[in-house]
Subunit: 98 residues, 2 copies
């Protein structure tokens, strides 16, 4: 079965305070970056999932993200397939039709 | 000056061990997700930068990411403009031509 690599970005909801982002923003201004207006920090997770097709892989990853990776009260998440990795797999597959 | 919003994804280099990712991977398998082959965890940072144009904004954000957000020995980073936010700005601009 092919491997699909997904990027999952977990972000704090707009209404939730982000003290880590505020601290980094303060550090940036101290370093002289006055044009930075806001910094918010979340998690970036790369998940490799083995499945028959993209739809099955995405379903598994979305379910996992909702159950294990994001806090449903304070966080949102976005799942995105990494096209580079799918192509890399396809060009290496022995059963590929030319 | 318009605001530009960038996503900065900071990831551990391939050769660097990721114990946090390993722990989440183990938890996923314990929950029954046997098809997950690998999980790697990094940071997802949203930076709002005020600048004359996209090029200046990107230069500032890339410099900041290299100096403050990513560890140059163990981490890589990728900077991406969020198109949705630029469009939102443009459609609200009073000088827009229809």
């Amino acid at each position: 079965m092919p491997n699909y690599v997904f990027n999952v970005d977990v972000t704090l909801r707009k209404a939730v305070l982000d003290p880590q982002g505020k601290a980094v923003h303060h550090a940036a201004r101290t370093l002289g970056y006055a044009s930075i207006a806001e910094i918010r920090i979340g998690k970036h997770i790369e998940i490799t999932c083995s499945a028959e097709n993209e739809t099955d892989a995405r379903k598994t990853v979305e379910e996992l993200a909702g159950r294990l990776l994001a806090n449903p009260v304070t966080e949102d998440f976005r799942v995105e397939l990494r096209r580079d990795h799918v192509d890399a797999h396809r060009s290496a597959a022995p059963s590929r039709e030319v």
